[in-house]
């Protein structure tokens, strides 16, 4: 192992510019003759638009244009497409209503864009936006799942009666029913998974520029996948061929899923730029972000587990309502289906599983992937249910899990919900986490807390997740509109330094470091001499971007494959230089050597020869040293592990404090342990935030009440203990790197551990249920109710 290759915690190359405030983000890009866009957004959740009067706004200083849905329709702008089609139980396709970039005639959630004001300065555009007079006819709205499926609920779309987008299922209903019919014990749970806002630190922004000399569009945008955005612009929304479109996602300050999707603003700034003859820039502010970034989660679930009397799982049945919001965002339908129901076996042997998912329209911001995307919802319901089963059957919570975990010798393991797990060692991670938290001494710690008037609770979650998405043929068969491979080009320069062009996109993950480490591992070149280029469709090959913890597993594998081709070509060159047979040349530690001899050529010498081919096998080998690979994964990867949490509850106020967190993950082969720890830390903060603090609260009229950081509580360092993070590695068996993925595990594994810990703390008071987020008032009310109080 080199000191910069796999397993080395080298410092992140990109941090210098970030720490010095020298990152270059979309809003930092200001072009000559820049103009600025501000959106007029609907203040109503459901309103007919009788008229829009822009005369005053147009007369305001600096205003270049006020554009509406009528203008967009007149120019034949496409609607925002949904990239995944789900087929309902009855064989019908989901209802995919139109999603105009600017609404026409009707607004369907607060924040729906109604008009676009473009002016020479942002302040002028803001002022003029207030002068646009929109005559709304507000109508009853529905924001919450249970209300949306009730009889007589306001309808979001005429074409979706009962607000149902699709009614889908997975698994074997008959086998599951049969298990339940003969079950010795059945445990049921009803719970919600709270709606969260992604809240990347950098709000979304887009700067569109139409060059009428080249007849070409350039879009700078906060995207996790610039090529996907370009594809959707070309094929559906702007309808301009790809070679006329350049999409650049420069430094991006976090995404958490929310920057995967193609948003209306990206299309509109390009379109408007051509109309006004200036580049048009839009930058969201935080309040606007709450009303226009896709949200996450928002499920209501009823689940039942059938068990033997001694606690062996026999079957699981799940019924979920999933909130889609008012429109279908790019991947929205896939989240509660193929990224949720397929995960319901967790790390357990469950012989039969049946899941039904109904997707529901409401007058709210669209819901799509947020860190974990479907997998946190699956893990949450399963781990809550398993804990409840342990309690009802009187079995220790650790033991019931141990009893049902898939054992290391059962892999590959075929679940009843489509997935086949390749490898894992769940008992190992369970033991590792228990040891890290010193589980044996929990009772002592509980007694100590009690002396301080605090109720201490211990919570556990054993989880798996599926990432490294995904085999293209498989997702295609399941309704995806795209393939999910990744691409890489490796260009070796004449002096032996390297530039890698990757389709993955780094927006905090550290690819500029970890991808360079991958190349270092194979070629032995110092990472200082390896540059990773990403984010610009004019420079990088067509790739699918970064989400679903796929970059290292899929993008990294593409890099490995491209490097393999380089190494092979180098062998031919080296064989020529060394006057040996190609078959006899080995490559190791950055050197080509004739096997069993000390005759060798360095990689640098070979690279130089490739570009200065004086003494060269020119008849059989082309000059140059550059190659590309597209890697299509053979399966998902399956990280898993165990997350343990201890909390202290103040029974007087209901305040929950997380006092200890110990996790043991198996994320496959680790490139950079420090970055893996950092990803785990961020994910844990995210997951604890969802469990205790975060929630998008809509009132019954569809107004978002938690629309700023004064009410929407993000987790902060002071809300979190120091995390104990451990890793137990089993290498992924089906990709060349052995990597599984780490970006989401924290957000997936920890929320149920937190709530299980709170419920454990409150069990002596008789509290048996809580929904996330476990805010102080909610906890206090649960205590009051359990104690027979008025609440």
């Amino acid at each position: 192992m080199s000191d910069q290759g796999l397993g080395a915690s080298v410092a992140r190359k990109e941090d210098r510019r970030f720490l010095l405030g020298k990152g270059r983000y979309t809003d930092d890009v200001t072009l000559p003759n820049q103009s600025y866009a501000v959106f007029v957004r609907s203040p109503h959740a459901n309103a007919a638009i009788r008229s829009i009067d822009a005369r005053q706004a147009l007369a305001a200083p600096g205003v270049l244009a006020v554009l509406t849905g009528e203008d967009a329709a007149a120019d034949d702008l496409g609607g925002i497409p949904c990239g995944w089609t789900i087929t309902s139980k009855d064989g019908s396709k989901m209802v995919a209503p139109p999603h105009p970039a600017l609404v026409k005639g009707k607004a369907r959630h607060t924040g729906d864009p109604v008009a676009m004001v473009i002016a020479e300065t942002r302040a002028q555009a803001k002022d003029a936006a207030q002068l646009v007079e929109v005559d709304y006819d507000p109508q009853p709205a529905v924001a919450h799942l249970n209300a949306a499926v009730a009889n007589g609920a306001p309808q979001v779309w005429d074409e979706a009666p009962g607000n149902v987008c699709f009614d889908w299922h997975l698994g074997d209903a008959a086998a599951t029913d049969a298990e339940f019919a003969k079950a010795e014990r059945v445990v049921a749970i009803d719970l919600t998974n709270n709606r969260v806002a992604p809240n990347a630190i950098e709000p979304r922004a887009a700067n569109g520029y139409y060059d009428d000399v080249e007849d070409r569009y350039t879009l700078y945008t906060t995207s996790q996948n610039p090529h996907l955005t370009r594809l959707l612009l070309a094929a559906y929304t702007l309808k301009v061929p790809e070679q006329k479109l350049r999409v650049v996602a420069p430094d991006v300050g976090g995404g958490f899923g929310s920057k995967i999707f193609h948003y209306a603003e990206e299309l509109l700034v390009l379109w408007a730029s051509k109309k006004v003859g200036h580049p048009v820039k839009w930058t969201s502010d935080r309040s606007e972000a709450f009303l226009s970034d896709a949200h996450g989660r928002d499920h209501v679930t009823h689940a039942e587990l059938a068990l033997t009397a001694d606690g062996k799982f026999r079957a699981l049945s799940v019924r979920t309502l999933a909130n889609m919001g008012a429109y279908l965002s790019t991947f929205a339908p896939a989240i509660p289906t193929y990224l949720h129901a397929t995960l319901l076996s967790g790390p357990y042997v469950i012989p039969a599983i049946y899941a039904e998912v109904k997707a529901i329209f409401t007058h709210t911001v669209p819901v799509d992937a947020v860190r974990g995307a479907g997998r946190p919802e699956a893990t949450y319901l399963l781990e809550r249910l398993v804990d409840k089963a342990a309690r009802e059957l009187g079995i220790d919570r650790v033991e019931i899990r141990r009893k049902n975990l898939i054992q290391p010798d059962q892999f590959p393991y075929q679940t009843p919900v489509a997935l086949q797990y390749d490898v894992g060692d769940y008992p190992a991670t369970l033991d590792m986490a228990l040891q890290a938290i010193d589980y044996g001494k929990f009772a002592e710690r509980k007694a100590e807390s009690e002396q301080r008037g605090k109720l201490r609770g211990f919570g556990i979650s054993t989880y798996i997740e599926a990432c490294g998405i995904a085999p293209s043929a498989l997702v295609g068969a399941l309704g995806a509109g795209a393939g999910l491979y990744e691409a890489a080009t490796v260009r070796v320069h004449p002096t032996g330094s390297v530039t890698v062009f990757t389709g993955s996109h780094s927006h905090g993950q550290g690819h500029e470091t970890t991808f360079a480490q991958l190349v270092n591992e194979r070629l032995g070149i110092p990472i200082e001499n390896i540059e990773i280029v990403h984010g610009d469709t004019d420079r990088i090959p067509f790739g699918m971007g970064t989400y679903g913890s796929r970059s290292a597993a899929v993008g990294g594998s593409a890099i490995y494959k491209a490097v393999d081709k380089i190494v092979d070509k180098g062998k031919k060159i080296a064989a020529h230089l060394l006057e040996a047979n190609v078959a006899d040349v080995e490559f190791e530690d950055g050197k080509y050597r004739v096997a069993g001899t000390d005759r060798e050529k360095t990689f640098g010498e070979v690279a130089f020869t490739a570009y200065v081919p004086h003494n060269y096998p020119i008849d059989t080998v082309e000059p140059g040293l550059e190659d590309s690979a597209f890697y299509d994964p053979k399966n998902f990867t399956f990280p898993g592990g165990c997350h343990l949490v201890e909390v202290e509850v103040d029974p007087e106020t209901g305040v929950v404090e997380v006092v200890d967190v110990a996790i043991a993950d198996d994320v496959g082969v680790i490139i950079n342990p420090m970055i893996v720890d950092g990803q785990a830390h961020g994910g844990l903060a995210h997951g604890i935030g969802q469990a205790l603090l975060e929630e998008c609260v809509y009132d019954t009229e569809g107004q978002l009440l938690s629309g700023s950081f004064m009410s929407y509580t993000m987790p902060r360092a002071a809300d979190l203990p120091s995390f104990k993070v451990g890793n137990h590695v089993t290498a992924c068996t089906h990709n060349p790197t052995g990597i599984k993925g780490v970006g989401e595990v924290g957000a997936i594994g920890v929320p149920p551990a937190v709530i299980n810990a709170v419920l454990d703390a409150l069990a002596p008071l008789g509290v048996t249920h809580l929904d996330m987020p476990a805010t102080p008032e909610k906890v206090w009310r649960a205590i009051q109710a359990a104690q027979g109080g008025a609440a």
Partner: protein
């Protein structure tokens, strides 16, 4: 944020002149309440009159010797109050309260005068001022705390009146207990309890549309200064906020718990 004229007068009198007859002029102290308002375009003042260059507003002093009042200049920051040896020694409850306002950035900029002029119903200082029976000193008069807070973001200040200092009688004991909002860090409920020469005073911030006194508890504590008194106290429902994030029942409960903790901290 809109354009405005920016003034830096050198005296209180000049500042008053700049405010007089100009409804669209606003004083600027630490800017920690005003600037967010301007950024969100919730107010569009034509003129901002900064207090920064006026001498004498940043002092903390004891008047009339050891037993005299503690006087804090209007422009003294939260952090300066929290870390002042004089405040910590003479009214430790006040120093602790200031040290629990917002976060470090807010405490480094925000001022006591700005906080009292703004009169946010969830701010901390109003509880201290009311419980300690302080006096708000302005460019033209002195206003007793009991007369100062008139409603939601409303005070007895005239449109062109400037707070110059706050005069605190030194209590025998005092303590503040706060239940901070997890996001904003403002008080969901804050209770200040003070044992003063004139009797026990208890003030509650956060729970209502303005800071208010809890007279029933004051009476109970005057008879017997013991924390058990707190749980017996009914909070008048009319004093409590409705329609906010916290229900009135929970607010009433938190008032009791915070009162209890403040009393315990006094002992």
């Amino acid at each position: 944020m809109r354009n405005f004229e920016f003034h830096r007068p050198q005296s209180v009198a000049d500042a008053v002149t700049l405010l007089k007859g100009n409804d669209a002029a606003k004083l600027l102290a630490g800017g920690q309440s005003l600037l967010p308002i301007l950024k969100l375009d919730l107010a569009q003042p034509s003129d901002l009159v900064s207090l920064a260059k006026i001498p004498g507003l940043k002092e903390i002093r004891s008047e009339g010797g050891d037993r005299g009042d503690l006087v804090i200049g209007a422009l003294v920051t939260h952090d300066e109050v929290a870390s002042s040896p004089e405040v910590r020694q003479r009214i430790p409850g006040l120093a602790a309260l200031a040290g629990g306002i917002g976060d470090a950035q807010i405490r480094n900029r925000g001022t006591i005068g700005g906080s009292l002029a703004h009169a946010d119903p969830a701010a901390d200082y109003p509880a201290a001022v009311l419980a300690l029976g302080a006096t708000i000193v302005t460019d033209r008069r002195s206003i007793a705390a009991d007369d100062y807070f008139t409603g939601l973001f409303q005070t007895a200040l005239g449109a062109d009146e400037i707070i110059t200092a706050v005069r605190f009688p030194v209590p025998e004991r005092s303590a503040y207990a706060k239940f901070p909002h997890p996001a904003s860090k403002y008080a969901v409920v804050g209770v200040m309890v003070a044992k003063t020469a004139g009797g026990v005073r208890v003030a509650v911030t956060g729970a209502g549309s303005k800071v208010f006194r809890l007279t029933a508890l004051e009476q109970a504590l005057t008879e017997n200064f013991a924390w058990r008194a707190a749980s017996a106290v009914e909070v008048p429902p009319g004093d409590l906020r409705t329609g906010g994030e916290s229900s009135p029942e929970y607010l009433a409960h938190l008032v009791q718990v915070m009162a209890k903790r403040a009393i315990q901290a006094c002992q």
